[in-house]
């Protein structure tokens, strides 16, 4: 068990190492570097030399990679180009804002998804399933920016219930932020819930068709006792991984949603830093987002391991 956990963590670290190599060499290989893109037309002569000197771009690539990676390992991402600010200071409040948005969406989304998934599976092909499944298919196929735009149009402009756009400064406290995030949370959790509900549905249906559930029915176990004791524990286990992948996949969708609602989080920073051609910030964002992805997957793996008694005994035997 211990070695298995260690192996998973090690694999995650290797993945992150490759990500850092990819982002670093990607920026290196693509035409234009931080200085030429930042200075644009003035990128010649003394100004270019000074910029190279300032950023240390005149040293060989591998040396820069090593010093950059050493900084990242100590939690220091260096300086951004445009504001001459420490990237850590730029990132801090953004990470917090995005975490608030994401955790609110997950806290609301997961219970609803479980409920909907179980309902649709137990009433498979009946009216509740048909209605809920149609709605979930629609909300998961339509792009985030469309559902977000429609939400603003209907709720904020036509019904005038909520403000359509978030107008808070980046460094605002959580209590001030919360009333502003209702629409973004609805937009994100709608898509997430739809994906997860479908996974839970198919997982529950699979377990319901298995022999031991048939046996339980034949034995005369009360229906709801059977559902809660025999079906759900087995059905939700494989769903954990899928839920993790869905959350990780949403990282991309959150970028778009944040832009639609003008929300001051990591997503908008992605767009801003790319528009400003602030490559050091882009690199930092790539590493951070990839670490989130890797750690969510790692947590899901470990949870599956811990919750699955069969895997545990298998490891002990070894």
């Amino acid at each position: 068990m211990f070695f298995l956990v260690l192996k998973r963590i090690l694999l995650g670290l290797i993945t992150l190492f490759i990500v850092s190599l990819i982002t670093f060499s990607g920026v290196e290989v693509l035409p234009g570097d931080a200085c030429t893109t930042y200075l644009e037309r003035e990128a010649y002569g003394a100004a270019l030399e000074a910029c190279y000197e300032r950023l240390g771009l005149n040293t060989p690539a591998y040396e820069r990679y090593i010093s950059w990676a050493a900084g990242v390992l100590q939690g220091d991402f260096g300086y951004s180009l445009s504001g001459e600010m420490r990237i850590n200071d730029v990132l801090g409040p953004r990470v917090k804002n995005s975490m608030v948005l994401a955790s609110a969406s997950i806290l609301i989304g997961i219970p609803i998804a479980l409920l909907l998934g179980i309902i649709t599976a137990l009433w498979r092909d009946k009216l509740p399933d048909i209605i809920i499944s149609t709605v979930t298919i629609f909300s998961m196929t339509i792009p985030e920016f469309i559902s977000a735009t429609l939400l603003i149009l209907i709720v904020a402009i036509w019904l005038e219930w909520l403000p359509g756009i978030v107008i808070v400064p980046t460094g605002v406290s959580i209590s001030e932020l919360l009333p502003n995030i209702i629409l973004p949370v609805i937009a994100i959790s709608m898509i997430m819930t739809a994906h997860m509900a479908r996974m839970v549905r198919s997982s529950v249906i699979q377990v319901m068709a298995s022999d031991y559930v048939q046996m339980a029915i034949l034995k005369g176990v009360p229906y709801w006792k059977m559902v809660f004791k025999h079906v759900l524990p087995n059905a939700l286990l494989p769903a954990i991984n899928v839920v993790a992948l869905t959350i990780a996949w949403l990282l991309g969708g959150v970028v778009v949603t944040e832009v639609v609602f003008n929300y001051p989080g990591l997503g908008r920073l992605v767009i801003e830093s790319i528009s400003n051609r602030d490559l050091p910030v882009v690199q930092a964002l790539a590493i951070i987002l990839a670490s989130i992805y890797v750690s969510i997957n790692l947590i899901a793996d470990l949870m599956t391991l811990m919750l699955n008694p069969r895997l545990k005994s298998l490891q002990i035997k070894k």
Binding site: L11, I14, T15, L16, I18, V19, I22, T23, G26, V27, L30, P31, G32, T37, I137, F138, T141, I142, P143, E144, F145, I146, T149, L150, I152, L153, I157, H195, R198, M199, R201, S202, S203, Q206, P238, N241, V242, L245, T246, A248, W249, L251, G252, V255, V256, V259, V260, V270, I271, I274, S275, R277, V282, L285, A286, L289, A290, Y293, V294, N297
Partner: protein, 294 residues
């Protein structure tokens, strides 16, 4: 010769039968008809577009829908109906060719990895995992902002990023096939690796790869329109739904028609492709319901 001809005929028959099975269910029929409608619209719309898509007229700004302008006009006085029926052309072309590229490189790398196995397979899968963990949007935005937003950049870039998932599917499908007896006997007969891939493996993994490719198509369309929406896709004044939505969004409280028309166009196309891909998977007997959207 006659054998080959017969096989060709059988292939055609098989395609025909798959389409028939797809259309036999209402969701498949709806999906196929929406997709067909959009493809025909994209090919023929320049022939009957009522106005010039880039003709700016300040006197006609933000007109409500009327008999003259069916879907109204946008903030630059351009006809929304014209731009909406033309708006899917770039998206469909880019994502179609992008999907073909994704299918080709993802499929071949996946089959290769599944076939060789061992160290090479491990290393390649690690790299693919690493690529999967970088959010696609960040990588796409970086590439597009450094290389420009022409279709010649967008098609290979999208094809590359959406092919990663296909590698895994193709690899898994190859793994399932490779232990079967007919592969072992083909090896025993002394067939080359290439001939085994072409004659034994490909026919058995083709369905899984094609279903994955169809699914990727709809996600790629979603990605492409998100890029356009963010201002990193096709450049104005090219009519494109994502771009139209992002332009009309600011004035949505005055002119909702300018935003609803492209929303309807894009949503219906994505739903159409999704329903078609689902029906395609079911017709080929492949269960995708437990797969996560990676």
């Amino acid at each position: 010769m006659t054998f080959e001809k017969e096989q060709k005929k059988n292939n055609l028959q098989k395609i025909f039968e798959v389409i028939k099975t797809m259309a036999s269910k209402p969701s498949g029929l709806i999906g196929l008809s929406i997709l067909l409608f959009h493809v025909i619209l994209a090919i023929t719309s320049p022939l009957y577009a009522p106005y010039d898509f880039k003709a700016i007229d300040p006197t006609l700004m933000l007109q409500a829908p009327s008999s003259e302008f069916w879907f109204g006009t946008d903030s630059l006085g351009r006809d929304v109906f014209t731009r909406t029926i033309l708006g899917g052309r770039t998206a469909l072309t880019v994502t179609f060719f992008g999907s073909l590229i994704a299918l080709f490189w993802g499929g071949s790398l996946g089959i290769f990895c599944g076939l060789v196995g061992g160290k090479i397979d491990d290393v390649v899968m690690r790299i693919i995992d690493a690529f999967l963990s970088i959010p696609w949007i960040l990588a796409m935005l970086l590439i597009v902002s450094l290389l420009g937003t022409t279709t010649l950049v967008l098609i290979p870039a999208l094809g590359f990023f959406y092919g990663k998932g296909i590698v895994r599917v193709a690899r898994a499908a190859t793994h399932d096939v490779i232990a079967k007896d007919f592969i072992v006997s083909a090896r025993a007969r002394g067939h080359s690796n290439l001939s085994i891939i072409w004659n034994e493996i490909l026919p058995n993994v083709r369905d899984a790869i094609m279903v994955e490719g169809a699914m990727r198509w709809s996600w790629m369309l979603l990605g492409f329109s998100s890029l356009s929406f963010l201002g990193f896709g096709v450049s104005p004044p090219t009519p494109d739904w994502g771009l139209m939505i992002s332009n009309a969004r600011g004035l949505m409280s005055f002119a909702y028609w300018a935003v609803l028309a492209p929303i309807f166009g894009l949503s219906s196309l994505i739903i159409g492709i999704n329903l078609t891909a689902d029906a395609f998977a079911k017709a080929l007997g492949i269960d995708r319901s437990t797969k996560a959207p990676v």
